[in-house]
């Protein structure tokens, strides 16, 4: 039986040896079942290590792809976020257009029913100069 160190066998399994050394070990392994079994055991150990590390990587990639593929929001025809932005923009534009057309601000449309004068700043002329307040004498308290 030929004896080769584990150092040499691990280097052989890892492909770290020179071509000449690799061929020499190939020839030894063809004739020595014990050494061949040892090499198979080392290759098996390495394969299981590689598979274990591959499982971690697959888990990380799956987690990242889940985060990336997750939809931001739901909606009927367009995403809710787009719908909200579009609705808000349309509302602001309509309000500006009505204000420009003379409906004032806040909006006073008779058919809609906003009370006239609500929210309107009273003119200076309509404010009375003096306000009369009637003060009645305080009733005397009996002892």
């Amino acid at each position: 039986m030929t004896e080769l160190s584990d150092e040499l066998l691990v280097a052989y399994v890892d492909g770290q040896l020179a071509r000449k050394q690799t061929r020499a070990i190939d020839r030894v392994l063809e004739e020595d079942d014990v050494l061949n079994a040892r090499v198979i055991a080392l290759k098996h150990a390495h394969a299981r290590l590689e598979a274990a590390f591959e499982a971690i990587l697959a888990g990380e990639e799956a987690e990242i792809s889940t985060i990336v593929a997750e939809p931001l929001d739901d909606g009927f025809w367009v995403p809710w976020r787009t719908f909200k932005i579009a609705a808000a923009t349309a509302g602001v534009l309509i309000a500006l257009a009505l204000a420009v057309l003379g409906f004032g601000w806040p909006l006073t449309v008779p058919s809609i029913g906003s009370a006239p004068g609500v929210g309107a700043v009273p003119s200076v002329a309509s404010v009375p100069d003096q306000v009369e307040i009637q003060v009645s004498p305080k009733p005397a308290t009996s002892p």
Partner: protein, 186 residues
């Protein structure tokens, strides 16, 4: 390449490598949660210090090294570094669960969880990432001979364990690949 383009390419390169960097941090820190935190802090540091990256250096080797340095720096700031280096068996084992089948290679997990972080990383870098001994040594701040010595010890130990073979005796070793002076002690 302009300087800004060069740094943009670093950022894009790091983004493309996130799953591999995450695996490295997970194995080092001993779990997914701890690994996420370590990777986040390391990426902040890398982006802030990207001017230290030298053109021509392999980006993954640089990034792995930065994560390892970040971990060592955080350990050195602890009053009890050894307690921080200990890992939770459950969290570490969960890393190896197959996403589809839920299968976990328990003997491999049991073997890895008992190893020091530097030795786990040695196995990951060589057998998981397929790096050369020189690059693995550059990342872990050790010589290629040290990487080879670690691999020999761990590979034979794992093979013995998986095949129920008693550990090899020193007297059985009649040939050596490396001179005695290059043999590692850890």
């Amino acid at each position: 390449m302009q300087t800004e383009d060069f740094y943009d390419s670093i950022r894009l390169g790091l983004v493309a490598m996130v799953p591999r960097l995450q695996r490295f941090a997970d194995v080092l820190a001993g779990g997914r949660d701890a690994g996420h935190g370590l990777l986040r802090r390391s990426l902040h540091h890398m982006l802030a210090q990207q001017h230290r990256y030298q053109r021509g250096t392999s980006l993954d080797v640089w990034a792995f090294g930065e994560i390892y340095h970040q971990w060592r720096q955080e350990l050195s700031g602890e009053s009890d570094p050894m307690s921080l280096a200990k890992i939770d068996d459950v969290a570490f084992g969960a890393l190896f669960d197959d996403a589809e089948t839920g299968y976990r290679d328990e003997p491999i997990v049991t073997f890895l969880v008992a190893l020091p972080p530097q030795q786990r990383l040695t196995l990951l870098l060589v057998y998981g990432e397929g790096l050369e001994h020189e690059d693995a040594g550059r990342i872990l701040d050790v010589s290629p001979e040290m990487i080879a010595a670690r691999l020999i010890r761990m590979s034979t130990s794992l093979a013995d364990r998986l095949s129920d073979r008693p550990p090899a005796q020193a007297a059985a070793i009649v040939e050596t690949l490396y001179p005695e002076g290059h043999r590692a002690t850890s």
